[in-house]
Assembly symmetry: C2
Homo-oligomer: 188 residues x 2
């Protein structure tokens, strides 16, 4: 059985990854190391640089990955994007709904970027889930902006759909599956 | 005459610093180098780490400084804070006013942190300007959130007051003056 290590301080992210990777027969262990994130408009760049920082200092073993994710709202020029965690901690879901008041185009994308270290180099995998911003906070599963994000093809938020559904269609699931495919294809 | 170097890609910041330092008989030259900023809740940490990154790579000469600044709104738990530039580029002044709708406590602080390299080590100086968020966008001077920030003791925004007044009372002026005092006291 393959073993991977997920560097994250977010237990929700870890649990999602554990459930998703289990379906592919992969076990994942959580590593908590303080990670330095750079300011950038791209989650790929944040994930890549955060992992490179750790790799350069020999702080991570081989077969480790970390993830950066963000909610990109079209009408808000991509806000909160790469700073989603900070924006969630400050203005929260309610703040986003207030900003979206009176705005008709509610299109948004949740994006995930995984940086993976195979012991030699760093590979980046991405996943996107298209959807829209709901009119109110709904549901109690998940974390962060899950209660206001309605994925395409559903009329419920991530937080209403629950982890079972979310983990099949989410941005994070898609990025993880890209990584799994690369691992299986033995491309490294 | 003392010569300093200000590492910034923001011409407004440079012009303010030039005008402020001129009053103290200090000349300042602008250097444009791409700067890597980390994600942090503290502008002091961002300024310090950005400069350290450049110093470690010998990319900056002695007597150089850079600055990080942010608008911290109490009712929004410090938002937009350290990510003010990004928030300005996405949701702008109008977004902040929308978030502040119906909120009575409009207290806010503009903060500036300067990291200065004397050729041996890095020193950090800070400046704060207390004030509040106005009810509408007003004035055309300055940049960023200047049109919605009313400094304490005034009934006009930074952008209405203009550079002459702003450069006497602003967060940036205060941080620069702290730096000047340290330089004059020859503490390095």
């Amino acid at each position: 059985m393959m073993h991977l290590r997920f560097i994250t301080s977010n237990k929700h992210k870890f649990e999602e990854a554990r459930d998703i990777l289990k379906r592919y027969g992969i076990r994942v262990e959580r590593i908590s190391i303080p990670v330095v994130e750079i300011q950038s408009n791209s989650i790929e760049e944040v994930a890549y640089n955060s992992l490179r920082y750790l790799v350069e200092r020999r702080l991570v073993p081989s077969m480790s990955f970390l993830e950066d994710a963000g909610l990109f709202i079209k009408a808000l020029k991509g806000f909160p994007g790469v700073y989603s965690a900070y924006v969630y901690r400050t203005i929260g879901c309610e703040g986003i709904l207030k900003l979206m008041e009176g705005i008709e185009d509610r299109y948004a994308e949740f994006k995930s970027a995984i940086a993976f270290y195979d012991g030699k180099s760093i590979h980046v995998f991405t996943g996107v889930c298209r959807g829209c911003i709901g009119l109110e906070v709904k549901g109690s599963f998940g974390f962060g902006f899950d209660p206001i994000f309605i994925p395409e093809g559903f009329n419920k938020t991530y937080a209403e759909l629950g982890n079972n559904v979310k983990n099949k269609i989410s941005h994070r699931a898609r990025a993880l599956i890209s990584m799994v495919k690369a691992l299986r294809a033995n491309i490294f």
